[in-house]
Every structure is written in C-alpha cells, then in structure tokens.
Symmetry: C2
Subunit: 234 residues, 2 copies
DNA sequence: CGCCGTTTTGAAGACAGTCAAGATGCGTGG
DNA sequence: CCACGCATCTTGACTGTCTTCAAAACGGCG
C-alpha cells in the first residue's frame, strides 16, 4: 500500500498533505519529506479502519471521506465519540507511548486516509516543533467539543441534545438555502441516537416534532433544512 | 503576587515546579528559569480561581490542593468537567490563541497554584520542545477520560455511572484498608451528582443501595470503603 | 415491482427528576 | 462541653421523559 512519489490516487503529488492542518506550517520541500513517510489506504463505506483494543502504531489522517469513532458497552450499546472528516486525525493517543486503540473507527463513505508510523511522526515532531503546537491546538478543540457534549449529556434532555447536534452538523456541512441552512445528515437515525445518547425511536419522534413546529424541514431521510436556527439554540 | 526567588510559600525554592509532570523533563538549571516566570497564588476553599467567559492569559498549574472545573447551563444546572489535583494544569486552551475561559474553576480546599503567562510559556515551548510532548500526552489522557465519561453518560444508568466514579476516586485517592479500598469523597452528594449528571437525591439513594448490598461502606458522609471492587465494575 | 432495511407510530413500563418534609451532622458560640 | 442552627443528606410520593417492545409504513435498490 506504500506509494512512492507519484502514487497518490486522489490528489496530484504531495498536495494532499497540505490539506491537513497539522502540516500547514511546513514549506513545500518539507512537505515532500513528510509525503515520503506516508502510507495511503482507501476504505469503502462500512469498512472498519480501526478496532478497539487493536495495536496501533500509526497516526491516521483523514484525507477524504468521513469516519465515525465509537465504542461499545458490555451490553452492546454503541456510543459515537467523534465524527472525523477531511483533515482530521486520530490515533494520536499512542503517538508517544505504545498502546491499543481505545475506540473503533468505521468509514461512513468511501474514505482515503494517510498513515504515518509513530516513530516517523516522532521524528517529524522533533524536526518541526510547530507541528506539536498544531496538535495541541487540535486536541484542545477536541476537548472543547467533548466538554460541551458531556455537559449536554449531563444536564439536557433528548430534544436539546438533538437540537445541539443539528446545529453542529449545520455548522460543519451546511450550505445556504432560501429557507434556511441545508445539509445532509451524516448518520442514520440510529447513528444520531448513538451520538447523542438516546434511543432511535426518540430521535424519530423529536425530529418529527421539530418539523411539526416548523423549526426544521426534512426532505427524505437525509436532507434537513433548518428554518429557525434560533429556536434550536435554547 | 509575584514572588522573587525565595518567595514560594509552600515548597523550598524551585522544587515545586519539579512536581509538575510537564516540567519533569527539565534539568535543575532549566527549572530555575521556569521558576522565575511563575506567579504564585493561594485560594481558600470555595474561592473561584477562574470564571467562565473571563479573559485568560495564563496557564494555571495546581501545586497543592484540589480544583473543580465546571459549567452552568442556562437553567443554572452545574456540570462538573474535571477534578484537578496536584500537578494538573488548566487554561491550556488559550495557550496559543487569545481567548476566554470555557469553564469555571473553584478551589475545593486551600489550593496553591502556579501561573505562567501564555507568552512566557510559548517561549518555554520553543526552548524545550519536550514540554509540548508532555502536554500532548496529558491532553490525550484527558480526552481519554472525557471519552469514557461521555460513553457512560450516553449509555449507562445512574447506578453504573456512580460506580464508575467511585472506582475513579478509589484509583486516584484510595488507600489500602483491611476491608478494601478507602478514600474520602472529594465532593458533596450534590457535587457527585453534578459530576455524573444526576440529581443529588439519586446519588443518595444509589449510594445507600450499594451499602445495603454490601458493596461499599460509608463512614460519615465523606469516607467510603469499597469492599467489593468487582461488583462496581459491571 | 417487490423486497429488505430503515423509519415511524403506538402503547406500556421503568428510571430518574422534582418537590416536599424530615433526619443527620457539623461548626459556632455560649 | 453542650446546645443551637444551618447546611447537607435522606426518604417518600408523584410525575414526566425516555426506553423498550411490537407492528405498521416508508423508501431505496436490485
């Protein structure tokens, strides 16, 4: 799966590494060094990229596509922790210490990833300390999101959590539309449920209620138009 | 509040900085450089160290004592996000970009902190890149805990979340005892409730139930002895 | 067009939240 | 050292929200 110089399937030459925020501080030449360290892989929709408990010795960067990161409880309930898309990375936990993955990662659509071996990446960090700063910044942002999610889970009801997640998706994937903000849900009802910690039936019911109240419009099962953004903000 | 060379109230000379994991990679001489940048403060039990929304331009390191970090919802419900003790730091979010605190921090007992201005700390990072690695490691650990907490909140009932938090405290503060592991609860019932996302009455009830079942023993309101660790692990 | 997976809808039941009252315990001051 | 008073914790009854189970409707895809 290793690609030499011209082997990137998706992007011309090394430009793909440039799209990754953590490398954005690097010069062209430096980038090409990085590119040589990269292993590329492609996953189809539904394929597992990473299994909880598996040895992981690489940092994985999403180049194109979408990935859900999640854990199972003993009873088989799934909790989605992250939704990664272009430019996001994961597997950073074992960057320094050897260890096992703490969550599963599954491609939600055809997904291209770049992988860099921990040892190689550690060298990069030594050579380019700015990358460390980028990572700190990104981890901080991730903590921010988790802190918000934790607060939601601990203090808000299902409807409020659903509203919050609709706003999250709108912010990330939304495009302008005459009636409001439009976007495609990245998950099925069950996925949304597992993201906000609710039952899928609850998600259905609440979503319909929001539509009845005129706050959102649903087109099919995936498309959402947020007509009254402020009503969701409560 | 700035202290010169010998002004540390609590520890002799610069040794206090040594207790802080993120500086553990530094040599004696380097440490003394760090110490010169440090502002020290002491807070009494109940005092606020940081208010959500306030400008924050320093990294804060807990030298001695205990700090709870929490947020309020619009309805006034409190969600505790972290429990910081000796060696932990916070305020790292604005290390690189100027910004406001995203949570409140309150001293749970008499607490000594060290503060380092962001600008100074950024220089430290430049001079000693290993500090960045320490921070990445710590942020990863923090993500780990939040991921676990989020999973608990999303998929488990109040009793399971309470059990998990008892084990967490036991691991952090527990000492061996003939009947099991003993420790003091860092929070009141209400605090525990706000940590696990439950009502204080629920915490009371579940705690009593665990005692009735012989899994734990409570001595007064603060002391807990975990008699059957495995029973809590479900 | 028909099938299968997903979504919706309904009804029942459980868990946890709220409100209210009483008990306990701790710190203070006499 | 005891007694008082306030804060915290416990207990009980009730309510509401969400989950669960079951069945019907929908929708996408071969």
């Amino acid at each position: 799966m290793k690609s030499g110089n011209g082997g990137c399937l998706h992007c011309s030459h090394q430009l793909c590494a440039k799209r990754v925020p953590i490398f954005s501080a690097l010069e062209e030449k430096e980038l090409s060094q990085v590119v040589d360290l990269i292993l590329r892989r492609q996953y189809e929709k539904g394929e597992m990229i990473l299994l909880e408990g598996a040895e992981l010795d690489s940092l994985i960067i999403v180049n194109h596509g979408m990935v859900k990161a999640f854990r199972y409880t003993e009873e088989g309930k799934e909790q989605i922790l992250y939704l990664f898309s272009e430019g996001d990375f994961f597997g950073e936990k074992n960057l320094l210490s050897r260890g096992e993955a703490t969550y599963n990662a599954e491609a939600l659509e055809r997904t291209h990833v770049c992988m860099i071996r921990n040892e190689d990446f550690q060298e990069l960090l030594r050579d380019y300390p700015e990358i460390s700063l980028k990572i700190i910044r990104e981890l901080s942002a991730r903590l921010d999101r988790l802190e918000g999610a934790l607060q939601s889970m601990g203090t808000k009801n299902a409807e409020a959590r659903l509203s919050a997640v609709l706003l999250e998706f709108a912010g990330k994937y939304g495009t302008s539309h005459p009636e409001g903000i439009q976007f495609d849900l990245p998950f099925s009802r069950e996925g949304i449920a597992n993201y906000i910690g609710a039952a899928r039936e609850t998600v259905s019911r609440r979503l319909n209620r929001l539509q009845e109240e005129g706050i959102i419009d649903m087109i099919g099962n995936k498309k959402i138009i947020i007509k009254d953004k402020n009503a969701l903000k409560l």
